[in-house]
């Protein structure tokens, strides 16, 4: 119980690392910065592991285990403690975040070795770990919000790490502002939660809502507002636009923040708030629709991107969509399962892409790569494994988690075949664009000047994390394997207390009835079970056909389907539409109407006009009475008395 009683230690370690490197790192050699940064995160992982071990010895009634540290805000009936908690959901997040975080820290010591501002990078990265761990361990909405905003800050700092580049600075700012638009909803959602429950503590809210039912309209409003925050943070339609731009950041940052951890915060939040969401079916439907549509939509954009990181970015948006689809159909455990496996394989994909970029001396355009498989074998094999995983090829981690989601969308209690269809189509596209990436990068003939680019495998501190993640990308999904042969999904079983403790009674009944009612259609549904796998294989074959067998075909297709191709290449012109409809009008109105017309024209005009009248009458008075110059007081008094009289008359008349 040593660490369980001191949960704050897990947070304090990376925070201390950030503070030490931030204050002294500038004067230290890289090795010292490394030891502090990697050391603090590794210790945090060990502390997390020990915490989980102790957690496993707890009796069920001691869960969630809560640690209260200090009173952070108190005013009237509003009271927020800085309190942390551990339950099964936290355990999954804690281990995923701290372990993947540790690997990416190690990788970064290689990737960033030749960059300026080394200490600054690790200071931000450690700070990120602090906020991310705060987010997943928070025991109330406000502490969660601290982590939520804090990771956003670190994301801002790290996307704009190479701040001399305008595009990087722009991207950082865009990320912060777009997610803040989502946070508007999140904040109002928290306000409404407190108004409804007079508390922001998860435990209190959940107990309250399961004992004292609230109107569905209220819960729907709360859930949709909270989900707005998730839309921003987890880059869903229509607020996903910041994530592709965020690829301006160093690649380890893309792996850690914009794939494995921060962007999944929205999914975690929805899963955490499941007692509310489960009582708001309309909100659940919204979550599912947004997730499924985003999953499909951004997969289509991924089809034609040429920048290796951009493909992965749209892929991330798409995969996050699957996680929301899972939550939306009530399969929270499947969503969190996919969150975890995605952290492994997508983290790996980004790190491997970073290794490719490293090998290519900074090149990110896949059409200027090719034939790298032999030259960088470790990168190739690990990236291939991750691709097989994300494509959902049986046996790999992504297969189990994606299958669980699509299965729930097809035949779960809140099944929705239309959304299932979108998900399956997206799975086919995912397989296609991922194998397109692999084929373009590693196969065929090199499309770069081999005399200029000296392709080299990355150093050990970069390849070892790749290998570890590749291992997890295969085996990380096997918790669910027994289910395939009629057994149980261990992952789902482990998480089930979180998702059933405060589940509405009605939902359980619904599960039973839906199972009974659809038994006639069950055979058809069973027949569809293998479809995602078939679609994934088809995607693989299509990519092989187009990029290995007939490499000239894609160009011809782009010619003949020019309109569609340009639409996809330009990402449906969404950025341009936002700029034209929102950004520019807002700036124009602010400048030309609010500032120049209202402020300077109307208000100041009135003030200056009054002053001019007063000055003129003052000079008239002076002519009459030889008054003293610059005596503003005179007309101030006149004006004020006049105004008072006016006020008296006006108000007197009004009543």
């Amino acid at each position: 119980m040593l660490l369980l009683n001191h949960l704050w230690i897990i947070l304090a370690l990376p925070l201390a690392g950030a503070a030490i490197n931030g204050l002294f790192g500038k004067r230290w050699p890289q090795s010292a910065v490394n030891s502090v940064a990697v050391g603090s995160v590794s210790l945090a992982f060990l502390a997390a592991a020990e915490t989980v071990r102790e957690f496993c010895n707890l009796a069920p009634d001691q869960i969630p285990f809560i640690g209260n540290y200090f009173t952070w805000m108190v005013a009237g009936p509003f009271r927020v403690n800085f309190s942390l908690q551990v339950d099964q959901l936290t355990v999954v997040m804690l281990l995923t975040v701290s372990f993947v975080g540790m690997l990416i820290h190690i990788y970064s010591t290689g990737y960033m070795a030749h960059e300026g501002g080394y200490y600054r990078f690790f200071c931000y990265l450690n700070l990120f770990m602090f906020f991310m761990l705060t987010l997943v361990m928070a025991a109330n909405l406000i502490v969660m919000f601290v982590g939520w905003e804090g990771v956003g800050l670190c994301s801002y700092l790290l996307i704009g790490f190479w701040f001399l580049k305008k595009s990087a600075a722009d991207a950082g700012k865009k990320a912060f502002i777009v997610t803040r638009i989502g946070d508007f909803g999140f904040t109002v959602g928290i306000l409404l939660v407190f108004a409804a429950f007079q508390s922001v503590d998860f435990g209190t809210i959940f107990r309250d809502v399961s004992q004292n039912p609230r109107s569905e309209a209220l819960l729907t409003a709360i859930c949709i507002l909270l989900f707005t925050g998730a839309i921003g943070k987890s880059a869903q339609l229509p607020l996903y636009v910041w994530l592709p731009d965020a690829m301006e950041g160093p690649t380890p940052v893309s792996a850690l923040i914009h794939a494995a951890t921060m962007v999944t915060a929205g999914v975690y939040m929805v899963a955490r708030m499941n007692p509310l969401f489960s009582r708001a079916p309309a909100a659940m439907l919204v979550v599912a629709i947004v997730g499924a549509v985003t999953a499909f939509y951004s997969a289509t954009i991924g089809l034609v991107q040429t920048d290796i990181k951009k493909v992965l970015a749209y892929s991330t948006v798409s995969q996050l969509g699957y996680m929301f689809l899972a939550c939306g159909v009530g399969a929270y455990a499947a969503g969190i399962f996919h969150l975890m496996t995605h952290a492994f394989f997508k983290g790996l994909l980004f790190l491997a892409a970073g290794s490719v970029i490293h090998a290519m001396g900074g090149e990110q355009d896949m059409f200027k790569m090719g034939g790298l498989a032999k030259k960088i074998p470790v990168t190739y094999w690990t990236m291939l494994i991750a691709t097989l995983a994300i494509a959902g090829i049986p046996g790999f981690a992504g297969f189990f988690s994606k299958d669980a989601i699509l299965e729930a969308a097809k035949s779960g209690p809140n099944a929705n075949l239309a959304l299932w269809l979108l998900g399956v189509a997206g799975a086919g596209l995912t397989s296609f664009y991922m194998f397109r990436l692999v084929f373009l990068t590693f196969f065929g003939k090199p499309r770069f000047d081999e005399h200029k680019v000296h392709v080299h495998e990355s150093p050990k501190n970069m390849t070892v994390p790749l290998i570890v993640l590749a291992f997890l990308s295969i085996f990380g999904g096997w918790f669910a394997a027994p289910k395939l042969i009629g057994g149980i999904d261990h992952f789902e079983k482990f998480l089930s207390p979180v998702f059933t403790a405060y589940a509405p009674q009605a939902a359980e009944a619904a599960t039973a009835t839906s199972e009974a009612a659809t038994s006639s259609g069950m055979e058809l549904l069973h027949a569809l079970t293998g479809v995602p796998v078939i679609v994934a294989v088809l995607g693989l074959l299509a990519a092989w056909w187009l990029y290995i067998k007939n490499p000239e075909t894609p160009k011809r297709m782009a010619q003949s389907l020019r309109g569609l191709y340009l639409l996809l290449l330009n990402k449906y012109y969404v950025d341009e539409i936002y700029a034209a409809l929102i950004v520019r009008p807002l700036l124009w109105i602010s400048t030309n109407v609010l500032w120049h017309v209202v402020d300077e024209g109307a208000i100041d005009g009135a003030v200056n006009g009054t002053a001019r009248v007063a000055r003129e009458s003052g000079s008239q008075l002076r002519k009459l009475q030889s008054g003293n110059e610059r005596s503003y007081a005179t007309w101030v008094v006149i004006g004020a008395v006049g105004f008072t009289v006016l006020l008296l008359v006006l108000l007197g008349g009004a009543r």
């Binding site: 600075a169 722009d170 508007f184 928290i190 306000l191 309209a217 208000i603 101030v636 108000l651």
Partner: protein, 540 residues
Amino acid sequence: MGTQSHLLTVITFLPLLSVAALLLLRSDDHVWIRRIALAASLAEFVVSLLLLPGFSAATAKYQFEEYHGWIGDAIHYHLGVDGISLFLVLLTTFLTPLAILCSWESIRENVKGFFVALLVIETAMIGVFVSLDLFLFFVFWELTLIPMYFMIGMWGHDRRIYAAVKFILYTMFGSILMLVAILWLYGKAGTFDLPEIQGLLQSGQIAFSPRAEMLMFVAFFLAFAIKVPLFPLHTWLPDAHTEAPTAGSVILAGVMLKLGTYGILRFCLPLFPASAHRAAPTIAVLAIIGIVYGALVATVQHDLKRLVAYTSVSHLGFVVLGIFAFNTISIQGAIYQMLNHGVSTGALFLGVGMLYDRRHTHEIKEYGGLATPMPVLMSFFLFIALSSLALPPLNGFVGEFLILIGTFQNHHAWASWATSGAVLSAIYLLWAYQRVALGEVTVEKNKTLPDASTRERVILATMALAILFMGVASPLFTRRMEVSTNAMLEQMKDQLGRAQEASRPATLPCLTPAQRAAVTQTQQPEQAALATTPERQVAP
């Protein structure tokens, strides 16, 4: 308070005493003028800290009271602090040494006059916060104007005369209305003593017709609203801030704007509760317009200092909104946000001033890429900007969030609209930061600018620590505000109830049941049974 303490008198007049010391020095002895001014203001800060151990958070009564006859029978020298004014006094004494330190090198002409003006303003501002006699209050209120007028007019930038005149005209206009109202109040009550007038009102010994009360409310409120400044009375502020020297902007934004919000809390609400309630919807709408409008106009400014000035319009909109939500959470949040804004915006002005000292311009396009030549200064700048855009766990978040959550209890729509200010503040601050600090250095001169000096680092680090401390340790502050705030709301409710009994039966809920429970627990134990009222359920 059984025995009279003279601490408040000492705190109020210590700066004035050091002015006397400064006057003894030769005008060209700049080194010692600066040193003595700084030492005096630091001593003042330390002395003001003595208020903390003696202050009791358990009572709503005025503490450290001093009461002496002054002019005739009606006018008294009556000082005291409660949970509302305590920290505003400390804010004043905290910011003044920093304002002196930031003027160390930038003020080279008439140095003595400058520091004299600064210290006189300090006395005047503290006087405003501790006066419990309306006449005394008015004297201090007016006393803040004159040195500030000179500070802008003499040590300001290019358009200083226009700005100074605009500042004084706007404020004088409000002052005169307030004076009329104070005299009217005196005519009715026969005293200038605030607690006495409050007592008379509470016991029903004096009462106003609704129209008379509204007129007095409006007269007081206009004076305060100009100071805040509430939209659309704000146009003096961008000019005054932009033209004032750095120390002037720090004091203006840091403390002087709060004279307005403090005045509203101290006079408008307790003395004229019915009118305050009637006017609340209008004022809240103006406050929300101010939040959005100030933020939008700030976004498109080309002048960095003007940009920061407009952010005050937005941030003070939050404070006014929190006050007129008549909710204990939002009012405590409003008081806390006054302090936070003083620190954050004061710090922003200090940062802008440091840039001005180097380049003598506020034009944003003259900067760009400054993070390369001056990483330390720009890191602090970003930290301060983050506090201003209410990033948790920094101070701005706590204040803003308390205001929002409190306002939301009574008015969903108000709080929701105000929340949009949080999005907008990210836009204008991060965009400004990008244009100033990020990218390549675009202006040749900027490449060799020196990073923060030791003196500047001390200033910025002090501010950064205050920002962090106030972010994580808010209960140290709000616990001392709680009882005074609740007492004020309770008293307003009583008075309102009496007024309604007299006229017509109606309900104007100003507290949620839970708050009422909290109040009854602290104030009237015998009514604690009321605390069992079921919690209110809110439908959207």
